[in-house]
Symmetry: C2
Subunit: 339 residues, 2 copies
């Protein structure tokens, strides 16, 4: 049996803060003060500061019956880093607030912060503050990420131009299909606890759901290539709503091509098994945390060799309209519920 330590045994909230603080690593010299004072202190620099925040609640945003808590910690950081990446910025610091009930052992909290620390190391960000408290109703995680970017490199979502090439990173729809399989296996298990989860051949889509990565690699590749996108957004709600955001905010339209849509083989098979359209998963599934951006046509030669990049369409002048050209040459309007 695994060891279980009650939080009271390590000195309550103060003990918990010390425990968390003692394991925090600082990567940036400009992080002058982290945990241990009223507020974190970040040194000045010559760049713009960007800040983003996310609030995650058990039962709404995640289900611990099939989510390893360490992965949850990693993902909670990654989705904030993804927002920083979408500004073409470099993440520097995060604050992490956590509320939890006494259902959680110290080992579980250690696992959560192990995932948070793994993400901090991977993305080279400093955990500089936060808050821990009791909760009557499951785990709550709130993360704020701060990054920086020089004025000439910042990329917003309202600056796409007619003629620009539309690029997306990685592949789409996997995280949503992974979630559907996890939910299906949970239902089967609840109906019959003797059943073992049937997730063979679903490893890729399940990992897309449980442990997404922010695409900082592509941000660094774009910098190395000397290219600043003309607009950018991260794909948290599916390609369709994100592209509609860019088009509406920029006062342009877009055409994308069915045969350019990046859908992984396993996403295709696992979606088909559920009688779900792989294309719908890619367009409206969400949680892929890939980047969607536009570049000027003359920058194509500079970005064409960046790995894991797809050129899926172009920006046109029809304001707010996103259309997909099918393999059959017919053209369909792309919409997103709620937009």
């Amino acid at each position: 049996m695994e060891k279980r330590t009650e939080i009271g045994e390590i000195g309550g909230e103060f003990g918990l803060i010390n425990r968390i603080a003692s394991k925090v690593q600082i990567y940036h010299p400009e992080t002058l003060t982290g945990i241990g004072d009223d507020a974190a202190v970040l040194a000045e620099n010559q760049e713009l500061t960007v800040v983003t925040t996310d609030l995650l609640l058990e039962g709404i945003h995640f289900d611990l019956s099939y989510t390893p808590i360490r992965h949850l910690g990693y993902k909670a950081v990654a989705i904030n880093i993804s927002d920083i990446a979408a500004m073409n910025a470099i993440p520097k610091q995060i604050t992490v607030s956590v509320a939890l009930s006494n259902r959680f052992s110290v080992e579980a909290i250690d696992d959560l912060y192990e995932g948070i620390r793994a993400a901090c190391e991977n993305y080279q960000v400093d955990l500089v503050g936060g808050d821990t408290s009791a909760s009557r109703s499951g785990l709550v995680i709130s993360i704020t990420a701060i990054g920086s970017v020089s004025k000439d490199k910042i990329v917003r979502r309202n600056t796409a131009q007619k003629g620009d090439i539309i690029c997306s990173t990685g592949d789409l729809g996997g995280a949503f299909i992974g979630l559907q399989h996890l939910e299906r296996e949970k239902s089967v298990f609840l109906a019959n606890p003797d059943m073992q989860p049937q997730l063979e051949g679903k490893d890729y889509v399940v990992s897309r759901q449980l442990r997404p990565e922010a695409r900082m690699d592509v941000i660094h590749d774009l910098r190395a290539a000397g290219v600043v996108p003309t607009s950018m957004i991260d794909i948290s709600d599916g390609l369709a709503p994100e592209l509609i955001h860019i088009c509406k905010d920029s006062g342009v339209g877009a055409v994308i091509f069915e045969d350019k849509m990046p859908i992984h083989d396993q996403t295709f098979l696992a979606a088909t098994e559920l009688n779900f359209s792989p294309m719908t998963a890619a367009l409206n599934g969400g949680e892929d945390y890939e980047l969607l951006f536009t570049v000027k046509q003359e920058d194509y030669d500079k970005v064409k060799n960046i790995s894991d990049l797809n050129f899926i369409g172009y920006i046109d002048a029809e304001v707010g309209k996103v259309r997909m050209k099918m393999k059959s040459e017919t053209v369909v309007d792309i919409t997103a519920p709620g937009l």
Copy 2:
């Protein structure tokens, strides 16, 4: 009957964000981008950036049965501003994330943000981002505040020196005693719903609990006086634990005087009515959000006329020890549970 609009009627989460964003006011020219992109963008400046965050949960940190939701919005901002003030910094931006169940009407959410906006106006801070989501279990509020301060003015909690004068703002213990009266009236009401709340003569202590202010006024007074405290902390958990924090972190001790303790007349009476020690409320009650700081003796003449400031003791060399000199001339050790 008051009008009740369901959140679905205003277009769900996107409608809610637009509703919030449309009422946000920007006070600082360096706030380049607020709500409406992946992350808020803050222009560079020549100062240090400070950041602090708090996570508040219904049933743990607040009770809506006696807390007007507008006051709650105000308080949630004020307690973060108080942390920025405690660094001797000027607050500039906040992010606000809120999770709520469908128990809350749009009018209730409007009230919450009305309080948040009132605090933003009072403290001159820009609401630059956040997150809204569903909740299965009551209201959750997470706020991150960002401020700035030049390197020569920042004040930490580990820099008090032997001989410094200990100052505290306002009066102490009121918020805790107010809470006890609110809880008592709630119990009476639950036992007998025909009873009316008996809070006459408790207006001051109740307002200390429900609508505390961050002491930015004193920060501005100190700047006008040309004084930088040698250490500072905000009093969120009571004078005793905060002074012990300063002493332990600074490697010093402290002596405070019983007859200098700032306790409001109503706090004294309302505590006595509950057979509660007013001094214990002041030392260990918490939630007053006053400032505790130390100044060099030679700065006394510069700060002595700042209004609402109390000189309650001095720093001595006995590391980590905080003692109180009683009117009777006896000396007692001051401790704080959990420290």
